[in-house]
């Protein structure tokens, strides 16, 4: 059996009296695709945010080996910077040399025409694509995606 990449051990989370997570435990092996489903307010986003280190659990811990790519549910970008500047900024964050994977993703998602455009001028769909590119450009072993990305490669505003 291969080593797990991500492991949650007895995660609890409460917002005041409202208990959202009650002892969530799992381990995920490489190459596994896991979906988290549940009613609105069930705690899916809370769980993902805890796994990414964005939120502190009330109890329990997360173990991870290798890099992680976290794509936030809401677009988190800087409107005053261009697409290229975002890629450069996140290259420094991930401490990686090459933008090869980022270039591939931009091409695959079909928004290379906007690389020099300010993010504030882009359509919602293109922002989502950049949001995803930033999460995957360092080729992480663990990928968390809370988005629905339109697959069209056509220009949209």
């Amino acid at each position: 059996m291969s080593q797990p990449l991500l492991q949650a051990q007895g995660l609890y989370k409460s917002y005041g009296r409202h208990k959202v997570l009650r002892g969530v435990s799992f381990a995920i092996a490489p190459g596994t695709l896991v979906g988290i489903v549940g009613e609105n307010g069930a705690g899916k986003s809370t769980l993902l945010r805890i796994l990414a280190g964005d939120l502190r659990p009330s109890r329990g811990k997360v173990l991870r080996s290798g890099a992680m790519g976290y794509c936030p549910q809401q677009v988190v970008l800087n409107d005053a910077l261009t697409v290229n500047q975002h890629l450069d900024y996140f290259r420094a964050a991930y401490n990686i040399t090459s933008l090869r994977r980022a270039d591939e993703l931009v091409e695959q998602l079909g928004y290379q025409a906007y690389r020099r455009d300010l993010v504030g001028t882009l359509s919602g769909g293109t922002k989502q694509k950049l949001n995803l590119t930033l999460a995957l450009m360092h080729q992480p072993e663990v990928q968390e995606d809370a988005l629905g990305i339109p697959s069209t490669g056509k220009k949209e505003r």
Binding site: Q7, G38, A42, D54, S65
Partner: protein, 276 residues
Amino acid sequence: MYSSIGHRYLTAARYALLEQVRNRFALVLLLLFVPLWYYFGFLFTTDAPIAFKFRLTNVFLQVSAREVTFLTLGLNAITLIVGFMLFTATRKNTHFDHRLVLNGYPQPLLILAKLTSLVAVAAAVSLYASAVLYAYWRPHSLPLVWLGFFGAALCYGGLGLLLGVLVRGELEGFFLIIMLSLIDTFIQNPIGNPAANQEIVKGFPAFAPMQIDVAGGFTLVTPWLYVFISLAWLAGLVLLGLSIFWWKTRAWSVHTEPLSAESTTTSVESTALNNV
């Protein structure tokens, strides 16, 4: 490894500054509001002498009402613009900065980059306001007037940063900056406030910059004490603002270590989400 600490700091500082440069509304305010404000001061005041209490020597200086008003208007314009610039940038990008930290950007470097942009913006805006002032009036020491402007700009930049992480709504933040700047700067002017020479004005952030500016405008004294008081205001506001920024953008620890194969399951073993 790709980036040295220096390279990562420069990257963050470059983008923090670039963002300020792209704040078009602030640039328009700077280009139009500052000269217009001085012009109004020129129109609506006279050269009649007025007593201003210069605290360093503890004497009343007889100064031109118009010239001391130029200093007040300069301080008011600068504090509004720099406060607005830092507030907007901080408020808009706290989530973005948090994302950078979650993805490995060292938090101290982002904080240092914020401080760099604060100092650079404050220095540039003060320089511009001093240069425009020179077209209306020749103070004894323009560099000292700049220093007073710079002190006030740093202080309100720190305030903008603090409000940016503290206040939820944009309007609330703008309103607070406008009100504080108006009260703070005009209370120091004996024309607008006959009580300006009383002790109470010492407790306001614009007190020390105004004293520095009056020293630069009408004397040959360098009031180092008031330079340090300005820096103390900056340090207090920035420390508070950056502490909240640090808390809001911190990454909670996720243990990154090789995991044992014993605990592996190929799928989610158990879930205990709410209302499951």
